[in-house]
């Protein structure tokens, strides 16, 4: 790489990176403002808004609801997505390619269109305003992440392994739990992490379906910005970012370990 071009390129890259990241991170200083309105801290730093976040019953219940919805919808997406990916892998025909493509659809349809459709459907099922409704909707929209990551890990797995397991007298459930799943655990974990983050910061479906009964963290932020400019919002936003980053770091760490293992084994 040329030395003179290198410096310029690095500055440019740094600027682009700053452009991408700074708007998200501006909430950190704002969350520490001593004032009672959204502002950058001047004349001191205060943790009072963070304190609000972890003491105010509204925010606390928002955290609880968000975690609950994200966890349960992730569990559903994992079960259905992994089963789908393994089934397609075992059959391996042209039809299964179509099934896999159909599974990616929730990712490509604009969320608002999807939310509208699901709203009409949920009215009939009486699921509007219920946590179950949001969990199911998030499970469906989280599904593509799981199908994609699990399919990717299955691509490296030889379908003949199933035959080997059967030749040793293993039943189908044993083959699944002892041979197939342990080999694709990294893909399942990655898919779960993405599905969780997806539900964790999803707003549109929650607004459509949650109505005025459910308040996840993103929805509380949305309401807070529309109604009052409490700096606790900045603290919540910071917490959301920190949590998401932590989850992503876990994913990165898992991938590192996997690559390290693969390198050691060959």
């Amino acid at each position: 790489m040329a030395q003179d071009g290198g410096a310029l390129r690095r500055v440019l890259a740094g600027l682009i990176l700053a452009f991408l990241v700074l708007p998200a991170f501006v909430v950190f200083p704002v969350s520490l403002t001593p004032n009672r309105y959204l502002s950058l801290p001047s004349g001191g730093v205060s943790w009072q808004h963070w304190q609000t976040l972890f003491t105010d019953p509204v925010w606390l219940s928002g955290i609880r609801e968000s975690v609950l919805i994200a966890s349960l919808s992730t569990a559903l997406a994992l079960a259905a997505g992994t089963a789908c990916a393994i089934g397609c892998w075992r059959l391996g025909s042209r039809l299964t390619d179509m099934v896999r493509s159909a599974m990616i659809l929730p990712l490509m349809i604009p969320t608002i269109v999807y939310a509208l459709g699901i709203y009409r459907f949920y009215v009939e099922l009486d699921l509007i305003g219920t946590m179950l409704g949001v969990i199911l909707a998030h499970a469906v929209t989280g599904l593509p992440y799981v199908v994609l990551t699990v399919t990717a890990s299955l691509a490296n797995l030889d379908p003949a392994l199933e035959r080997a397991a059967r030749s040793l007298g293993a039943s189908v459930p044993q083959t699944l739990t002892r041979v197939i799943v342990p080999n694709i655990i990294p893909g399942i974990l990655s898919g779960g992490i993405f599905a969780f983050i997806h539900s964790w910061d999803e707003l549109i479906i929650v607004i459509f379906i949650g109505g005025r009964e459910l308040f996840t963290l993103p929805q509380l932020i949305w309401d807070g910005i529309n109604e009052n400019l409490d700096p606790a919002i900045a603290a919540v936003a910071s917490a959301l970012i920190l949590f998401t980053l932590a989850v992503l770091l876990v994913e990165l760490g898992l991938r590192r370990r996997r690559q390290f293992r693969a390198a050691r084994d060959t």
């Binding site: 003949a160 030749s167 040793l168 007298g169 044993q174 693969a262 060959t266």
Partner: protein, 257 residues
């Protein structure tokens, strides 16, 4: 051989869609016998081997091993999938491409079946695994994963894995075809030793010298049928069927070891 018949295949027919891969194949294998199956690719050898332990389900025909009919209960009714799994482990199977479980070490590969299928306790299963691996000359490789082993070593782990289930017969599906030439001999030596210990074996192979020196009987398959069989030296020395003559002409100059 004068020992009793252990495996008896009768009228095995297998189709894949419109194509008939096996047509009415019979074969008896005696206790302690080593039978080698030869034939051009596409002759149905591998499918026949898989029909023996029901990795493939034949359209018609039956396989009996000892007093068990595969796919049937003792009262003659059809066996369900779980019962079939139980019956299947009377056969060991060694694959062309080893098919070791990549997430497990050599020892865990061998111990998995005894632990999970036979219900043996962990310590005992691992002791059995180490014993089988040592017997196949792999004592210093027990803790390695398949990716760290050579093809020959992997195939010997696969043989140990089959042995650890204490099968009545071991089926070998071209066990040396996926190996680099310099690794073939170690696997053949292991198989020779097994045959010497009286293990009953059915081996699909192109290794003619192995067939001559180890097998009690050679079976030639073509177009989904058994065309000719006999003592290997007789069969290879004086082939009657034209297809067998052609097959031997093509094979011997390149593959004789």
């Amino acid at each position: 051989m004068v020992t009793p018949v252990l495996v008896e295949a009768r009228g095995i027919t297998k189709r894949f869609g419109p194509r008939t891969v096996l047509e009415d194949v019979d074969l008896d294998v005696h206790e302690g016998e080593t039978v080698v199956i030869i034939g051009a690719s596409g002759s149905g050898k591998t499918t026949f081997l898989r029909c023996l332990n029901r990795l493939e389900t034949p359209e018609t025909g039956q396989v009996r091993i000892a007093d068990v009919t595969l796919g049937r209960r003792s009262d003659g009714r059809p066996a369900d999938e779980r019962e079939l799994s139980q019956q299947r482990r009377l056969f060991g199977f060694v694959f062309q491409r080893f098919n070791l479980f990549p997430h497990l070490t050599a020892m865990q590969n061998v111990a998995l079946g005894p632990r999970r299928v036979l219900g043996v306790r962990r310590a005992e299963a691992e002791a059995r695994a180490v014993h089988e691996l040592t017997r196949l000359g792999l004592a210093e490789h027990v803790g390695k994963r398949p990716g760290q082993l050579s093809g020959g070593q992997q195939q010997r782990v696969a043989i140990a894995r089959a042995l650890a289930m204490d099968p009545r017969v071991i089926l070998f599906d071209e066990p040396t075809s996926a190996l680099d030439p310099e690794l073939v001999q170690e696997v053949l030596d292991a198989m020779r030793a097994l045959a010497g210990e009286g293990m009953t074996m059915v081996v699909v192979t192109h290794e003619m010298r192995f067939a001559r020196s180890v097998a009690h009987r050679a079976v030639f398959m073509a177009d989904g049928r058994i065309v000719e069989q006999g003592v290997p030296n007789d069969l290879f020395g004086a082939p009657r069927d034209e297809r067998l003559r052609r097959f031997l002409r093509h094979l011997e100059p390149h593959h004789d070891r």
